[in-house]
């Protein structure tokens, strides 16, 4: 086992190259259709990078792609970065309109789309059609390239520059692109690697979307440690996931609280039988409740359960190994990483984070304020507190953001969209947090002339919203409650919703 320190590595390419040098013939990645060693992965990345250059894609060009979890995802992502271009992974299921907005906002020169989704994004809109190509065609063409020595050594990276833009839901319906440099990410990965003791013997089954920082971070951690990973396309093909865990003797399985619920409620015994070599699970995207932690720990008593607090902009801010700390700390998200400063605003209780692993801001120039060391300062939008031993606890939210199994949704985005419906007089979105694993979107609608038409809202949502933004419930209402400043009174909406639930329960009884 070789454990490497990442602090000397200047870029993703350097970090990956070291793994290639140490373990050229070791399996780096597997997916449902292929398997690659470090050397094979490296060659594919370099060839694809050459092909991108051949096609006129240059340093600093933004290149977007839509590709489900797979080795192809990692090849194109690293090839773009090796080309010193900027990689923009777009989540599977993004609506055509969202993709157009991302292309416009980022100025992407090219978008590569996985073959099975190319029809979905066929568009008369020039934003997509002028720039779109099939990713698998690019990778196939790259295979014919003969690498020359210059292609292998010719890297001149500045790790401070933006290398990746991850788009998140914005409040006005316009997606926001979080700028991430390789330096940000390498510091974070070093922290993760040290905290979770990743090494060349680690192997993770990663079913989290790679277009998000949680999933992508785990792939980086594995590749930069010389470990291996099976890339699963979500948990929906659960048999493949369980088989991958068992056959590859997986040591780690990162997931979300929704994933924990799914496993515990539907496949607990099968999961236990497959997880014979599992030593740790990192759970994030939403808080893991003490009940979920207890259940998971009872099922797999020898597996360490880690949680962390983070956001795309601030990556991993704090880490906790709950099973080591004991049940007293099951509500904690741990202690802040050494490289970060975390403070609580005394007036609002908002968590404020600063440090070198933070994003500099949103694309192109909407930057966060900086401290005297020029490190970004981010107001998280979450409320928190520290206990006497320095452990951080999340106590609430300042922003109205709704967390759907890790997907962040701004109520304003849905409200703005639904107000465009002619028959709708007003609309308000409420994020119900009564479930363990995920929030629920509750949509209150005032129809013009009191002519309720839920189907109309459902059809409109289906047409215009990503599936995770689809309301769990649509409730007609006479008037949207407002505060003194004329803004939607979301606390009152919560009370109305709770009354609605109680009324329904009474009816059922």
């Amino acid at each position: 086992m070789v454990s490497r320190d990442l602090k000397l590595e200047k870029s993703f390419i350097d970090a990956l190259r070291k793994s290639v040098e140490y373990y050229p013939n070791k399996t780096a990645l597997l997916d449902s259709s292929q398997e690659v060693t470090y050397q094979q992965l490296w060659n594919k990345i370099l060839k694809t990078r050459c092909q991108l250059r051949k096609l006129g894609l240059n340093p600093k060009d933004r290149i977007a792609f839509i590709q489900s979890n797979s080795i192809d995802f990692i090849i194109i992502h690293f090839a773009i970065i090796a080309n010193e271009s900027i990689s923009i992974p777009i989540e599977i299921g993004a609506k055509k309109e969202t993709v157009e907005k991302i292309i416009k906002a980022s100025g992407a020169k090219k978008i590569y789309i996985e073959r099975k989704y190319t029809n979905l994004y066929q568009s008369e809109s020039s934003a997509i059609s002028d720039r779109a190509s099939c990713l698998q065609d690019l990778l196939k063409d790259s295979e014919t390239i003969e690498l020359e020595s210059a292609d292998i050594t010719d890297f001149n990276h500045s790790s401070e520059n933006t290398s990746v833009i991850l788009f998140t839901s914005g409040s006005t319906g316009l997606p926001k692109g979080v700028k991430l440099s390789q330096k940000n990410t390498l510091i974070t990965i070093r922290n993760i690697k040290n905290f979770c003791s990743y090494s060349s013997e680690s192997f993770e089954v990663i079913a989290l979307p790679l277009s998000h920082s949680f999933g992508l971070g785990h792939v980086y951690a594995m590749l930069f440690s010389g470990g291996g990973a099976y890339l699963a396309d979500g948990l929906v093909r659960i048999k493949k996931v369980l088989t991958a865990i068992r056959e590859n003797k997986a040591t780690g399985f990162p997931t979300t609280p929704a994933g924990v619920d799914l496993i515990m409620n539907s496949y607990a015994e099968l999961f236990k039988q497959s997880a014979t070599h599992l030593s740790q699970m990192v759970v994030n995207s939403a808080p893991l409740t003490p009940e979920q932690t207890h259940k998971l720990h009872s099922l797999l008593p020898n597996v360490k359960i880690y949680v962390y607090y983070g956001m795309t902009e601030a990556s991993r801010t704090s880490f906790a190994c709950l099973t080591e700390l004991g049940s007293k700390y099951f509500k904690s998200v741990g202690k802040p990483m050494d490289t970060l400063k975390v403070k609580i605003d005394p007036k609002t209780s908002e968590i404020i984070i600063s440090g070198p692993s933070l994003s500099s801001g949103y694309w192109p120039e909407d930057n966060f304020p900086t401290d005297k060391h020029k490190n970004p300062i981010i107001r998280s939008g979450d409320k928190g507190k520290f206990d006497e031993n320095g452990y951080l606890y999340i106590t609430g939210r300042i922003k109205d953001q709704i967390n759907i199994g890790g997907y962040k949704v701004d109520p304003l985005e849905i409200e703005t969209l639904l107000r465009k419906i002619e028959e709708v007089d007003n609309v308000a979105i409420y994020g119900d947090q009564s479930l363990n694993s995920t929030d629920q979107i509750i949509c209150f609608v005032v129809f013009k002339g009191n002519k309720d038409n839920m189907e109309l809202i459902e059809d409109f949502c289906r047409e215009n919203l990503e599936h995770y933004k689809f309301p769990s419930e649509i409730i007609p209402i006479k008037k949207i409650p407002e505060g003194v400043n004329g803004k939607i009174d979301r606390k009152k909406l919560g009370e109305i919703y709770n009354n609605h639930i109680s009324e329904n329960k009474k009816l059922l009884n």
Binding site: V236, R237, G405, E466, H467
Partner: protein
Amino acid sequence: MSIENKVKEAFLDVLKVQENVYDSELAVGDIPEWDSVNHVKLLQEIEERFNISIDVADAIDIEDISDLILTVKKYTN
């Protein structure tokens, strides 16, 4: 109503997709709406509508519409 139509109805109700999306060759993950959470909801809905209880070992083998129909047939025969 035939098993095929009843499965289709449950599918459209749970996944909240338009009818033209439904295809007898559709597989899990082919559309974003058919994710792991909706997959479990769909199986529960199928169990309820057909008054059956699908064994976990069979449930994890269901990866497309035809698997779903075959499983229902197995449990209702």
